[in-house]
Amino acid sequence: MALKQVSPTDEFIKGLWRDNPVFIQVLGMCPALAVSNTAINALAMGLATTFVLLMAGLSVSLLRSFIPREARIVSYICIIATFVTCVDYAIMAISIELHRALGAFIALIVVNCLILGRAEAFASKNNPGRALLDGLGMGVGFTFALFFIGVVREILGSGTLFGVDMFPDGFQTWTVMVLPSGGFFAMAMWLLVVNWIRQREGGAEKQANERSREVAS
């Protein structure tokens, strides 16, 4: 199980940037594109997914020696579905409007490949502490990514942010950004930015490595 000694902070940090679920792994696209039309929807979906990620990660990690290999996917889905049902009722209790806005996508967290992916690839091979940190990092990274997409879509598509008007009267809203195609545009735009930064980072790292090699030799 000890693949490589990674510090606990690194387990948390990697989900934020280096292995960001949306911008780098491109997982969980269905909610990322479908319910990111406003910042609030995006945040709510992100937090709901984070909760499920945390709890599913913890449970899978605790039960990892009891779950038979042959039936592991079924077991994971049962565990995940349990927590999704909790989230579903919780959101309904907090705000029925939000529940209506998110619609079927709350139930669809069950089949979010990000959660199943973390359960299969990480939680089933690591101790509960690490699984919790990993789930938290991935969840926060997912929430951030959705929030960024949602902010762009809400400002351009409705001229508001968190429902508050951002512009004086007469702002021309870009209807397309509220439509599903707007999700693809905003997502593509952020991917462009992220990849651009990563390329610059990579270039800087390479230069630093070369410099240190020169110094060493």
Binding site: Q172, V176, S181
Partner: protein, 339 residues
């Protein structure tokens, strides 16, 4: 060829060309579009002139800056992007705010052309993608039609055209409905003569069917356009409309109305014939045209929007590589009868 070279020159086909290059073809397309553009400015006045100008400039600038930004030589010299810009200007409403014209031009060239690899690689017609984006982003300004031949159209620029960037336009010009909207929502059919002469309202350059046809005939005569595509579109639309009109003459208009209303003429002659986004083989072109004709009739008769030429052509663009795969000419010496 006269002088024997010291080296054996090896090149890939084609070895025999007729000497036409991209810029020669584009110059001829420009000549073919000249009467349409002139009529558009005459009919809609200074607003249309500004829209066409900004459309062309936005497309050319986008291509130039993207080439510079990615460290490639600028490709605006072959005039293809200028023609894209001119065509894009001709399919916009005449009183569209200039900042929207600019946004659509940038989107069309950057996303539909440059991201796919530039000239010769675009899967979709860049001008139509720009318009489709505007249609989805700004539905109200994109379905707002200025009255043609209004008084004082040359001296007075419509206020909507000069709207502040990112702000909603205000309208002061006299507006009217397009013939297709009248058909869809009021059940009225405009007379064929008015449609052919361009006396009705519509996008900047789509109103005068006769001039568009003349431009198309010029290009066909210069062998710079595959006549099968427009012919196939016209035949399909005419045949389907004729059949429906026989069935119910009150609900469905006649073939002349369908052929000369909306963007069908401009779309069939100048958009569907985009050399890159249309099929290669002649049989493929017939099939492609039939698909566009079928989609146009279906969208116009039963769709939610009055006009469907733009979406019909974009959908057919998407299908055209598959048409090319479906209808592959037999390679010489293979297939039937070969051993």
């Amino acid at each position: 060829m006269a002088r024997l070279s010291k080296y054996l020159e090896i090149g890939s086909s084609p070895h025999v060309t007729d000497g036409t290059s991209t810029d020669v073809i584009m110059l001829n397309v420009f000549l073919a579009l000249l009467p349409v553009t002139a009529f558009a400015i005459y009919a809609f006045g200074s607003g249309a002139a500004l829209v066409i100008m900004v459309a062309t400039v936005s497309c050319v600038l986008t291509e130039h800056w993207l080439c510079r930004w990615t460290g490639k030589p600028s490709t605006i010299g072959d005039w293809s992007v200028a023609i894209t810009g001119l065509l894009y200007g001709l399919i916009l409403p005449p009183d569209l705010p200039l900042w929207m014209v600019f946004v659509g031009g940038v989107f069309g060239v950057a996303v539909a052309k440059f991201l796919f690899g530039g000239l010769g690689m675009n899967a979709f017609n860049a001008a139509l993608v720009g318009r489709a984006f505007l249609q989805a982003a700004f539905p109200q300004p994109m379905t707002h039609w200025q009255m043609p031949f209004a008084e004082g159209r040359f001296e007075h620029i419509p206020t909507s055209v000069l709207a502040m960037p990112f702000w909603e336009p205000t309208y002061d010009a006299v507006t009217t409905a397009t013939p297709l909207a009248l058909m869809k929502f009021e059940g009225q059919f405009a007379a064929g003569r008015e449609l052919m002469a361009g006396l009705t309202s519509g996008s900047v350059g789509e109103t005068c069917g006769v001039l568009i046809l003349l431009g198309g005939i010029y290009l066909v005569a210069r062998k710079m356009m595959n006549w099968r595509i427009p012919a196939s579109i016209f035949l399909t639309v005419a045949a389907m409309t004729w059949a429906f009109q026989l069935y119910d003459p009150v609900t469905y208009p006649g073939p002349v109305f369908m052929l000369f209303s909306g963007g069908l003429m401009l779309g069939a002659v100048f958009m569907a014939t985009d050399m890159v986004a249309s099929p290669i083989t002649n049989a493929g072109c017939w099939l492609y045209g039939m698909l566009i004709g079928l989609l146009v009739v279906v969208i116009r008769f039963w769709g939610g929007m009055p006009e469907g030429v733009m979406y019909a052509i974009l959908l057919a663009n998407a299908v055209s590589p598959h048409i090319d795969r479906l209808i592959q000419p037999r390679v010489f010496g293979t297939g039937r009868g070969s051993r």
